[in-house]
């Protein structure tokens, strides 16, 4: 299946219990382009032939057991308002350009385009959609959870949902009449078209036919087959005499399938699972280490301060001792000096006394 390339966890084998390796990953790099199943069928809608009779709408409703489309078919006033595909209207014809002078009005039939690489299939988290080798994109209502992501992303607004169904709502859309084409019949709309504006056949053959028409009537057609490459290509191909943006189609659509825009991101996601634990444990270890180093530094500083304090204390003691000693010495010296002076004075006094005694 084409869209299974590079899904989240696909092909990486991580979290095997959950994803169960259900993504049948194609080549590891996933860079090869899916060009569509060979022999797949398709439909070509030549809008230059469409007259807006809405026979296709009626046939479609009949085949799919849907209510008859609104209004009588000859009543063209219904084209005053753009109608959309709904859960009850798988296909709808709208008038995009009004008739002017001898230029006829331009109508286009809209329905699921049956993309080669469908967005709906890529975004479905229960894989309810499958692109069949025969061409149609099929939907399995038995697994649908009803998230409507498919309805929300379809670039062609081609899916309907049963909002009125309270208990078993499902997605509703064109199936390209899968049951009929498997039996070899044509899809209902192609069979009903009285103008031959809807041609059913192998997609490759239809592309050839479309190219031939453009080559043969270059004034009648714009040189583009919508659906050949747009968003990776579709099973429905459209020819037109006016630019496709006038027909409500993204004329400048990229040729890259839209699911590729997501697959690149999702392939990176497993790296988060693989890189983060190591990286974060590294951060954690780094933080812890910083804390430890800070603690150590604090301790070392404290020890140093203690040592310095002790040293300073010792020095102070020594200084004081010296000071005391010197003070003591000074005191002793002073005392000695005093004593000597006293002795001197006494000796002087004695000498004087003796002299006095001798003089009389």
């Amino acid at each position: 299946m084409s869209i299974s390339r590079r899904g989240f966890l696909g092909g990486t084998g991580v979290v095997a219990g959950v994803a169960a390796g259900s993504a049948t990953a194609r080549a590891g790099g996933g860079m090869d382009r899916f060009m569509g199943y060979p022999d797949a069928m398709g439909l070509l809608h030549d809008t230059t032939l469409c007259v807006g009779c809405r026979s296709c709408e009626v046939a479609c409703a009949k085949v799919n057991g849907k209510p008859k489309p609104a209004g009588p078919l000859h009543d063209k006033s219904i084209f005053g308002k753009m109608r959309r595909v709904t859960d009850k209207l798988y296909t709808v014809v709208n008038r995009y350009v009004k008739a002017r002078g001898n230029k006829p009005a331009v109508y286009r039939k809209h329905q699921c385009m049956h993309c080669q690489e469908p967005c709906c299939a890529s975004v479905c988290f229960v894989k309810a959609f499958t692109k069949t080798p025969e061409g149609p994109v099929l939907y399995d209502p038995s697994v649908c959870v009803g998230c409507r992501y498919c309805v929300n992303v379809c670039p062609y607004y081609a899916l309907g949902y049963e909002y009125e169904n309270a208990f078993n709502p499902t997605v509703q859309r064109c199936t390209m009449c899968y049951e009929r084409i498997k039996k070899g019949d044509q899809p209902g709309c192609a069979e009903a078209c009285p103008m031959g504006a809807i041609v059913y056949g192998k997609r490759e053959d239809l592309l050839r036919l479309a190219r031939q028409r453009i080559a043969k009537f270059p004034d009648r057609y714009v040189d583009q087959i919508f659906g050949e490459h747009e968003y990776g290509g579709t099973s429905w191909l459209t020819l037109a005499g006016v630019s496709f943006d006038k027909l409500g189609l993204p004329v400048n659509a990229s040729h890259k399938p839209l699911p590729e825009l997501t697959s690149g991101f999702l392939s990176v996601v497993p790296l988060v699972i693989t890189i983060y634990p190591g990286l974060l444990l590294g951060f954690y270890a780094w933080t812890k280490r910083k804390e430890r180093l800070a603690d150590q530094a604090r301790e070392a500083a404290a020890a140093e301060a203690r040592a310095a304090a002790e040293e300073a204390g010792a020095a102070k003691a020594a200084h004081q001792k010296k000071l005391a000693e010197s003070r003591q010495k000074k005191a002793v010296d002073l005392a000695v000096k005093k004593a000597l002076a006293q002795a001197d004075r006494e000796r002087e006094a004695a000498k004087a006394a003796a002299a006095e005694e001798e003089t009389p």
Partner: protein, 391 residues
Amino acid sequence: MSESAATAAVKRPLLTPFNIIAGLILAAGVAVGIYRFAVGLAPSTNLDHLNPWGLWIGFDVMTGVALAAGGFTISSAVYLFGLKEYQPLVRPAILTGFLGYFLVVLGLLVDLGQPWRLPYPFVVQAGPTSALFEIALCVALYLGTLFVEFTPAAFEWLGWRRWRRLVHSMTIALTIFGLILSTMHQSTLGAMYLITPDRLHPLWYSAHIPVHFFVSAVIAGLSMVIFESALSHRVFADKVEITHEKLDSLTIGLAKAACVALGVYLAIKVVAISLDNEWALLFTPYGHWYLFEILGFVVLPMIGYAIGFRERRPTLIRVSAVITVVGIVLNRLNVSIFAYNWRLPSHERYWPHPYEIIVTVALVTFAVVAFKWIAGRMPILHEHPDYRGEH
């Protein structure tokens, strides 16, 4: 929690204005919920085939997940990056995150067509190519992770010491697991829009949208923590452990982080516009709306945070936080609703049905009531006296 506090909880009057209003809102929400399941989505919502995702996805899921990002932001900062002073904010952030994700799941259940099949991607058939598959897996695991991260508070309240010790010993592993899961699903919520370049307006669409979503989720988480802690301090003045001065200083620290994150966000938004050369689009009506979002809810609060941080003005910071949170809501709604399907004519655009609004308001009310009930009983805003300093 102490005995006296427990008895006080029982004696609290039931018919307060808050309880009456909250009760009425919850009753209305339940009534609409029953109606929605009885009659289906069509009568109860404005959803249609063009607009299959409305308020319940745009707000309840997209915005809810972003606003619940405070849990992983704060717990990673505290436990992995060593910003220990923010410890008192971890438990409220985890609780807010858990309730936020719970609300997300409730909102999703209301929105799904067949909600009883929610486990199908894991038990019936997996669709691993879908961004939604990864989100479903991550949100389921992360809701469980947040629950386990929250349990120590409950175990302390219940007095289950052994269980508390067991969970407490797993803190680092749980935090790493939560950060992995959050990085993945926060960004993948943006990646859901990678596949819609035609339906999402180019100013909001970017190949980098997963990164935009992740960075803005971090901003949302930080701002929600600032906002929620200020609110708790007002409502639970008797229960909070840290002083107002301490909370102010933590708020100022968070403002610095939020300011830098907003700066990074602004830069990557400018890069996205430059890479796709979308400057001309700024002069269209959608461009004005885009500038309103960026200037009003990114640049303005960034300046508010910067001034608040420099001049130490907690009130200015709290105002900036509220503006930022509103901005995240606006951004998620722009991506999922207002700038989505922008090519459709106005009559085909979506506007929420009153019933959708009632359910959303009821879900938010439910989260607020649950926070109030739990924080009023369990050691969320204060440490349990038996386990003081044990983090």
